[in-house]
């Protein structure tokens, strides 16, 4: 391999890396992209076939590696399957104080989870990145999301306000092809700080129609402002701006959404934007080169503190037994790390060297903030049955949300959230249609009431089976509360090492794997309390029933293990429930398990796939990793992009803001290159 010189070297072919490559390539700059995983040419059909035939339908199920053997594989990554109950270490949680004690079996879980709670979100390592399995939700952040410290005396301020980002939001929405009505959004959400400029701004595509689920919900809750504990905050079911085609426009003429109900894990027809769209545009400029199966292993720094190259190794062969085919150094004038919020800090930390004192903590890490402040939207999943059919399992996975509760004075006390309304029945919630179907076909032989819909263990066939399943599936629905997580320096990505007597754990290329320390703050946990209080009132107003289970432990073959993704309710918070009106303590409205007063034992959380904060931007080199231009404070020709730069996670899904910030970074880099 020749060590060609480029204008810009980018690590990672996801949405941030490809947008920057495309922008610079269009302006004639020579760009190299290093992608750890396979390129995009093997295509959608192959991923789709893998998805169809996979017995688990997790977000990662279509993509390589399909089964995790992280110590052997070339590009393992976090998966939902890593956190299955069968992978919980038998001596958890007592083992966590041991040097080699993790929540999940390190031979199954790529992330080495030290807890006390597990990080529950995942990503992909293939060209196109995690946008392969993103949902498409393209919400803007709100005004106060940028000013949490100055407005509410919590969290942090961003080093920029919303106004600075507005032009880039417009451009990002054009790139992604976001479908929404600015008029509807502004009318319903202007009061909580949603902003557009100019005043007559229009989204590039018309709004996606609401589903029957959305309409049934909206009919009962829209305009109501007397929810107990939410007094004065209006409730509105708002169509969600989405990166999925409502029209087939533009040169590529990708298809309009056919409602495959499969945005996660894979849109079969690419009606949903993903970064392979931008990657292909980048390559078509003729100035962008992609090297796939090229894993960056070290960022090199010269004596002046400038980045001098990125060492990478190339691999080939099967994931489980890769062959390292070469090592090279990519050289450019400017370097961009766009490897998402776990692999980016991993690379910076792997680049530490004791030969250069300033780099003893890793590259770009004079602040000691690299890897810290790892965040997600811990998701409170609440599922129930509607009183009448709403025909879920139809349409895009989500078409609406309740966004009106994302901001308010309460944010000085507890985490805000948005409510994502699901169109996929209890698929996410309990794994339907498999679970309920098995319950009713199996009956007492299956000894199963996993759905909670078959407490008598009846066994059905024929017409009665059809009727019972139809009754269940057409009424199932769920809400996902995306709870704001506070930035905490102790929530961090580290590298596996032999420190403290631990075993060094590497991937199949011999590179150290990420160790994760993670917990939820009281502020964030309190967001769950209010999510449950809100959910009960929604079920009450609908005349529906709550089936949410917050399972504290799992028992298989009479062995009981604690559910790692569960936390107990603090005693100090019991009063929030005991003080509720009696009607809201009805067991048909409460999650389970809960006591006679409707006080939940605790809450289960899921990941939202929003990996944020591990190289945050800030106003000072002392306590942040990059400046507001996403330039490393330590190395002037190094840019770190992606959701890792977010100082706070805010109340919205991150991808649109990742894209907006990437477009801003591309402008800065262009100015640097002259």
């Amino acid at each position: 391999m020749s060590d060609t010189t480029y204008d810009v070297v980018i690590v990672g072919a996801g949405i941030a890396g490809t947008l920057i490559a495309r922008e610079l390539g269009q302006q004639g700059k020579r760009v190299l992209i290093l992608e750890a995983g396979i390129d995009a040419s093997r295509g959608r059909e192959r991923y789709l076939e893998t998805f169809y035939k996979n017995t688990v339908k997790t977000p990662e199920s279509p993509y390589p590696p399909v089964v995790e053997k992280p110590s052997a594989q070339a590009t393992p990554r976090a998966t939902i399957a890593d956190t299955f109950a069968s992978n919980i270490e038998p001596d958890f949680p007592g083992n966590l104080s041991e040097p080699d004690g993790y929540i999940y079996d390190p031979e199954k879980s790529y992330l080495l989870q030290k807890g006390p709670l597990p990080f529950a979100s995942t990503y992909e390592r293939v060209a196109g990145g995690t946008t392969w399995h993103w949902l498409g939700t393209s919400l803007r952040f709100l005004e106060h999301d940028f000013t949490m410290r100055s407005t509410y005396c919590v969290e942090k301020d961003w080093p920029m306000g919303i106004d600075a980002l507005l032009p880039y939001y417009n451009r990002a929405e054009a790139e992604i092809g976001v479908a929404a009505s600015a008029q509807v959004q502004e009318e319903e959400l202007g009061s909580v700080g949603l902003r557009y400029a100019p005043p007559d701004y229009q989204y590039p595509m018309q709004q996606i129609p609401l589903s029957q689920v959305d309409t049934a919900l909206g009919d009962k809750v829209n305009g109501i402002d007397d929810f107990v504990d939410f007094e004065g905050l209006g409730v509105q079911v708002t169509p969600t701006p989405a990166g999925r085609n409502s029209q087939s426009i533009g040169a590529s003429s990708r298809r309009t959404c056919a409602g495959n109900t499969n945005c996660i894990p894979i849109c079969p027809i690419q009606a949903k934007y993903d970064a392979t769209v931008t990657l292909s545009q980048a390559l078509q400029t003729g100035h962008v080169t992609l090297i796939s199966q090229a894993v960056a292993k070290r960022v090199c720094v010269d004596e002046n503190g400038r980045i001098s190259g990125i060492e990478y190794l190339t691999w080939d062969g099967p994931q489980d037994a890769p062959t390292i085919t070469g090592t090279a150094t990519a050289v450019g004038k400017v370097y961009v790390i766009a490897a998402h919020a776990i692999e980016t800090p991993r690379l910076l930390l792997m680049s530490r060297t004791h030969d250069q004192g300033a780099l003893a903590n890793g590259v770009a890490n004079s602040s000691d903030q690299v890897g810290r402040n790892l965040m997600d939207h811990p998701l409170y999943l609440s599922w129930g049955l509607m009183p009448e059919p709403v025909w879920g399992f139809r349409g895009p996975l989500t078409t609406s949300g309740i966004e009106t509760l994302r901001d308010g004075a309460f944010r000085s006390q507890r985490a805000a959230w948005r409510v994502e309304v699901g169109n996929e029945g209890w698929n996410f919630s309990i794994g339907d249609p498999w679970t309920t179907t098995n319950d009713f076909i199996g009956g007492p032989h299956g000894a199963s009431n996993n759905s909670q819909l078959n407490p008598e263990n009846v066994q059905l066939f024929g017409d009665a089976l059809v009727a019972r399943l139809n009754h269940a599936f057409t009424r199932q629905w769920r809400m996902g509360f995306l709870v704001e997580q506070t930035p905490e320096p102790g929530n961090r990505v580290c590298l596996s090492s032999t420190r403290g007597g631990a075993t060094l754990r590497t991937d199949g290329l011999g590179l150290p794997r990420p160790v994760i320390h993670y917990d939820l703050s009281d502020y964030t946990k309190l967001g769950f309390v209010f999510a449950e209080i809100f959910a009960r009132q929604v079920y009450q107003k609908l005349g529906g029933r709550n089936y949410t289970l917050n399972t504290p432990s799992f028992t298989t073959d009479s062995v009981t293990v604690q559910n790692p993704k569960w936390f107990a309710l603090e005693d100090a918070w019991r009063h929030y429930f005991t003080e509720l009106p009696a009607a809201l303590k009805d067991p048909r409205l409460t999650c389970q398990p809960a006591d006679a007063e409707g006080v939940p034992e605790g809450f289960q959380y899921f990941g939202s796939g929003h990996i944020v904060g591990t190289y945050a931007m800030g106003a000072s080199a002392a306590d942040s990793v990059v400046d507001r231009d996403q330039r490393s404070w330590d190395h002037a020709n190094l840019f770190l992009v992606g959701s890792g730069v977010f100082p706070t996670i805010t109340t919205a899904n991150p991808t649109l803001t990742i894209a907006a910030l990437a477009l801003q970074a591309a402008e800065t880099i262009m100015q640097d290159l002259g």
Binding site: N260, L460, D463
Partner: protein, 204 residues
């Protein structure tokens, strides 16, 4: 329907499947059938259960002919379907081979979910052992064609047969999906045909 002398194992499989699934034989095995899911499921079930599969078809045939004088499910009364299903699935108190009954359930799940749930430990002619409870997706087409999607009046997740915006409207009727007239599908815990127990899995 052909007469009894020319009834093939596939005929028996299709009628048994119509009985347990609650979908019409013409939906399971349409005249023009390029996907030929019936053959994929037949072959798969047979390869994983061997002689028990053959015994299941015989059990269905004997029960159907004794109860209704025909294997044609579409010409049976609801009571006859109930009695035959109870017999084959071992729900009527009379003894039924446990492996035969379990295989009937697995055939039903295969139609609904496109996955094979191994009903008992089985070693095939090549010496491969399949453990009871193991699970595998039979094929992409089996996943896509799963009846569970039709029972919800929809499509397989990842294989929409509809067009932009359909989700804003009500779906086609359940009958359009099953090919059978439905008892009041929205009635909860009713005395719908085929139920062996009053269903108390009440929801709302």
């Amino acid at each position: 329907m052909r007469d009894a002398n020319t009834t093939t194992p596939m005929d028996l499989f299709i009628q048994l499947s119509a009985l347990v699934t609650g979908f019409s034989a013409t939906k399971l095995a349409p005249g023009l059938d390029p996907v030929n899911l019936k053959k994929a499921l037949f072959d798969f079930a047979q390869s994983r259960t061997g002689a028990v599969f053959d015994a299941l078809l015989v059990a269905f045939q004997q029960s159907a002919e004794a109860e209704a004088g025909t294997i044609d499910v579409s010409s049976m009364s609801a009571e006859q379907r109930q009695a035959i299903g109870n017999r084959v699935l071992g729900l009527d108190g009379a003894s039924q081979d446990a492996q035969v009954a379990a295989t009937a359930q697995s055939v039903n799940k295969a139609w609904y979910l496109g996955s094979w749930y191994q009903p008992f430990d089985y070693t095939d002619g090549a010496g491969t052992t399949y453990e009871a409870g193991s699970q595998v997706v039979i094929s992409s087409q089996a996943y896509i064609g799963g009846l569970a999607w039709k029972a919800m009046q929809s499509h397989a997740m990842g294989n929409s047969t509809f067009t932009f915006g359909y989700w804003a409207s009500e779906p086609p009727s359940l009958e359009a999906f099953t090919g059978n007239p439905q008892p009041t599908a929205t009635t909860q815990g009713s005395t719908t045909q085929g139920s062996t127990t009053q269903n108390q899995g009440s929801a709302s």
